[in-house]
């Protein structure tokens, strides 16, 4: 069974607004997750500049030896990153589901301030449900 390692939500100015790790592989502490998030934000921006095709919207998948990095960019500039096992299928669909949950449980919550860190109980609860439903093993928890 394929597994995902961690999920990052990055606001349009590159700040990490949500981080969660799933499973014991690739766990990060707060400092590392912040650093990695801004690194990936910049990497995404650079990939747009470097692309030979005009109208490129940026990197979608980065394949490394030990993990795959999938990115979903919303129209408002919020980016979702998921690090998964190499070759894990169906992550694009999972990212879409996560974006729907973000639109529902974060943006429709009157106590959430846009671009600020996400602290929504319902979002985390439904996120876990969705990841379980998509049959990704959430090991170690």
């Amino acid at each position: 069974m394929a597994s995902i390692y961690n999920l990052f939500v990055i606001n349009k100015s590159g700040g990490l607004i949500f981080y969660k790790d799933y499973g014991s592989t690739g766990r990060l502490d707060t400092n590392d997750s912040l650093r990695l998030a801004s690194l990936w934000h910049s990497m995404h921006a650079i990939s747009i500049q470097l692309s030979p095709t005009p109208g490129c919207t940026g990197m979608e998948v980065l394949e490394a030896d030990t993990f795959d990095l999938h990115c979903f960019q919303s129209l408002t500039g919020t980016k979702l990153f998921v690090a998964s096992e190499p070759g894990a299928p169906g992550i694009t669909a999972l990212l879409k589901t996560i974006y729907e949950l973000y639109a529902d449980y974060v943006l429709k919550n009157p106590f959430y301030e846009v671009e600020m860190p996400i602290r929504c109980e319902l979002f985390e609860y439904n996120l876990l449900q969705a990841i379980r439903r998509e049959k990704y093993s959430v090991g170690g928890r």
């Binding site: 529902d104 943006l107 429709k108 602290r119 319902l122 979002f123």
Partner: protein, 195 residues
């Protein structure tokens, strides 16, 4: 020109026209965003949680009064409930079906006090997307629905104090919302007289 070429039927006064059945579906997303804005707007104008609850309740009262008028005309052929249980089941079924598309999960009588009734809902529609931050304690956006119920009861001649509370249920991750209705003394006295 407006009205030219139309039959006499369309020129009827608005109060003479039959009352429409109403559109019974509204986009949940649109409502959720509007309600979210209502809460945020109210939040900028209050100093404490109790005041915020009162503001949401006030917003609901206006809805309740109008819903009562509308549903009495539309569903009940201008008949009005005069008895306590009658009006409670009207709120529990007719009003709930009109507002939320379903009957409320339960209607119970309070065990400790004679004048208390409770309408419980496993997942209140207005609370579907809302996570209340820990520092706001027991605040419940269901106050808006409590206001609607209060508006209906006040308008029908059953003055009551209505409030919304989270009640945790065993074996379920999410607490349910209970709308607590405490009727004024005169209502119970009248009920007793009517027998």
């Amino acid at each position: 020109m407006i009205g030219v070429g139309r039959g006499p039927k369309q020129l009827l006064n608005v109060v003479d026209r039959p009352l429409g059945k109403g559109k019974n579906e509204v986009s949940l997303s649109a409502f959720a965003f509007l309600f979210s804005e209502l809460v945020q707007y109210s939040q900028t104008r209050v100093d404490n949680i109790a005041e915020l609850e009162r503001r949401l309740e006030d917003a609901g009262i206006g809805v309740g009064l109008r819903i009562l008028e509308l549903l009495c005309h539309r569903e009940k052929a201008n008949r009005r409930e005069t008895r306590l249980l009658g009006i409670l089941s009207f709120v529990h079924s007719t009003v709930w079906r009109c507002l939320f598309g379903k009957v409320a999960d339960s209607l119970e009588k309070g065990t400790e006090h004679e004048d208390e009734y409770m309408i419980s809902e496993r997942e209140l529609l207005v609370n579907r997307f809302i996570s209340v931050p820990k520092d706001m304690g027991a605040f419940n956006c269901g106050s808006f629905v409590a206001g609607i119920v209060k508006g209906i009861l006040d308008g029908a001649g059953f003055p009551a104090r209505v409030s919304a509370h989270f009640v945790s249920v065993e074996g379920q991750a999410r607490p349910r919302t209970t709308i607590l209705i405490k009727f004024a003394e005169e209502v119970l006295q009248r009920e007793a007289r009517l027998g």
